[in-house]
Amino acid sequence: MGSFNPVKQVLIPAVAVTLLGTAIGVVDAFVLRPLAVRSSPVDVDTLLRARSDAGPPGGQTPQDNADPADRADDQGERFVFPDPDPREAGPESSPATEPAAQEPPTDTTRAFEDTADVPDPADAETPRNKPNNDEGFTFTDAASMPEGHITIEQAYGLYEMGAQFVDARRLDEYQSGHVANAFRIALADFDAGRPVNLDFMQSMMPDLSSPVVVYCGGGDCDESKQVARMLNSFGFPNVYVMHDGYPGWVAAGHPAGNDAPYP
């Protein structure tokens, strides 16, 4: 009868089991399934094309929608915020931080309803239509982006669809300027469980599968990817990361604001 050797028969196999699990886990997580944005949201171009194919109400062509002045007629297809609109309760944009010419529409739905306040779309000098790219911002090519990341223009397409935007940057950065109507949900907000702003944002969405765009400072910033992952984990399947972040959004001249109704 052989003697029982605990080291050889238990400890060494136990270490082997642990090391094998560790090795597979590391390969799985960091090689096979990078932890960027793990879920595969609906292809954003498919989403945007579907909207274009459906066509706006009133016989407008998709091209008509490109004109901001026409968007006021496009309300039937856009998500309408529930009444009372809590965003109206928030403070208005601070005039101290941005010139009036760059004041963006502050509500996705009503962004272009009041045409009196909307810059003339024919005016090529309005920041809304002319990319503010004087500082030489280099937009990232879509082909070089990781899965789940989208370009500024794709993000703007989703913005026009009424997608929710989530700002993952610091509070002071958010307060100094953010995508119009974006919620601020930072990674640290998930430390205590479900962030309050997440409930607020969800209440504004028709359903959980509505597109959500997360952004941070662009470039190497990682917060948007982490927040996107957290949103995935809370049941939002179609979360996209705006790759070029807020600097890209501003450089493209898209609606931005510094009102902070949901800090």
Binding site: M1, L11, V17, T18, G25, F190, M230
Partner: protein, 191 residues
């Protein structure tokens, strides 16, 4: 010490099941193996399984246990990646009966860590989801509570049985002649 000197046949295995010790050992093996398999599968492949588990682990704020303000991101990623795979391998080993004692020892270590972690979460008054079985809650509620500690203690007792009671009943070990300590079990069956 293995005292089982019965011939290496399935019939002898089944005959040995009549003893209470072997029954307890078999129950422990399949219960722990099954629960670990369920936990691993839900963390790896369930709807949003990995993300849910990540969210749960993050909300545990394990870093506070050692005085850190927040849990390091690398630790979160590492533990979320590795835990389900170690669970899966241990589950496979237990269910198939390969290196049962070694796998049970790893499970016991894991369970002790979970018990400490959950006790710490409860002592800090955190209200978090367990994420132990992904979106499922087969035994306790979704929220971390005393039930999870009791559940893990019961599972720890089962792993203790597997570690300290040496059996080879219905194991692949016996077939593959791995991890046995009795040469008589290695002899070919001769009728």
């Amino acid at each position: 010490m293995n005292t089982d000197t019965r011939p290496n046949t399935l019939a002898s295995d089944l005959a040995g099941v009549r003893s209470i010790g072997t029954l307890a050992w078999l129950f422990s093996r399949f219960a722990i193996g099954g629960l670990f398999a369920l936990a691993a599968l839900n963390k790896l492949r369930g709807p949003n399984g990995p993300d849910l588990f990540y969210a749960s682990v993050k909300s545990f704020r394990a870093g506070e246990m050692i005085g850190l303000e927040s849990t390091p991101e690398w630790f979160l990623r590492f533990s979320v990646s590795v835990t389900p795979w170690v669970e899966a391998i241990c589950a496979c080993a237990l269910l198939l009966g390969v290196y049962v004692r070694a796998s049970a020892l790893v499970c016991a270590a894991w369970l002790m860590f979970f018990i400490v972690l959950i006790a710490s979460v409860l002592s800090r008054g955190l209200n978090v989801d367990c994420g132990c079985f992904g979106e499922l809650s087969p035994i306790c509620g979704k929220q971390v509570g005393v039930c999870n500690i009791v559940q893990n203690l019961v599972m720890l007792v089962c792993t203790g049985i597997l570690v300290f009671v040496d059996r080879n009943t219905l194991t692949l070990d016996r077939i593959l002649r791995l991890g046995t300590n009795d040469p008589s079990l290695l002899e070919p069956v001769s009728d």
